[in-house]
Amino acid sequence: MHEINVGADLLASNDAAALHNREHFVDHGVYVLNLMSSPGAGKTTLLEKTVQALRERYRIAVIEGDVQTSEDADRIAKHGVKAVQINTGSACHLDARMIDKNLHHFDLDQLDMLIIENVGNLVCPAEFDLGEHDKVMVLSVTEGHDKPKKYPVMFHVVRAMVLNKIDLLPHVDFDVDLAIRSARALNLDLDVIKVSARSGEGLEDWYRWLEERIERVKATATK
């Protein structure tokens, strides 16, 4: 019997698949966003508004991750953009290989932005790099300002936090400053965008944030 030092990163196989995806996205100049939240935070509503607002200027497609049903993909497809559903079965997150397997549905040369809506869950999706440019999470004010402390990994890995349902602030005990302070404690450079996907308040800020990133990626495409 003898001991062998290995020193292998156990997430390496996903990371390798993510790197492969990222190379595709960067080459084709497609900005890819991995959108995450708990169930019911308003990801799909935010997506519907985003697609409506930006589809004239940009060619957009969506990948919808869900444990089952194609309801979300159907909601997005109604707005005239291509939406592909990935049902994960029992898995609580999307991984890079699932994305790779579904990329053949899209002509990346004909896209400016691909939005991947992850499975509703604040834990597992944060662990898996899909090859996206940015991870963004939606936190709704009805969920409570304690979420950053309870789900530190999610708040640590994202580039931006969209604080949704701010039209409901008068009705809930949600401390906006505390939520932002505890999120930034885990992530110093976190961008915070306050919106109500329902009333439309703040959405212009969100669109501007996206536009800046789409343009930056387009400008560096190699194909």
């Binding site: 019997m1 290995v6 292998a8 997150h93 930034r184």
Partner: protein, 119 residues
């Protein structure tokens, strides 16, 4: 429940390493799991029991070493271990901790069984 897919990858890595050393079996695997890695040690142990069946690591014991979360305070430069659920600087009480380690999950080493040496 992503511990199962991690356990499957873990078994594959163990088997690759074992084969590269002409092992006939693997008796022990040591992994490090960071406090902020999102991996639950108990769930990983359970998933490993399932994933190892029929593999070179079928009789392998999994030893999990938990790695604490270490961070640095950007306000006062304090460095040390903190609780994942309490990201406040123990020294100056500021909410400005920057994570240094404890996010990873690594296969550190394995112990393999070999054909008896020809003495």
């Amino acid at each position: 429940m992503h511990e199962l897919s991690i356990a499957v990858d873990l078994i594959a890595t163990i088997e690759d390493t074992a084969r590269a050393h002409q092992a006939t079996g693997v008796s022990l695997a040591i992994v490090e799991v960071g406090a902020l890695s999102g991996v639950v040690p108990d769930a990983l142990s359970f998933a490993f029991e399932v994933a190892r069946k029929g593999s070179l690591a079928a009789d392998c014991t999994l030893e999990i070493k938990e790695v604490p979360l270490k961070a640095r305070c950007s306000a006062c430069q304090w460095e040390g271990e903190i609780e994942p659920l309490n990201p406040v600087c123990p020294s100056c009480k500021e909410l400005s901790m920057e994570v240094l380690s404890g996010r990873d999950m690594r296969l550190v080493s394995i112990e393999i069984d070999e054909e008896k040496d020809h003495a």
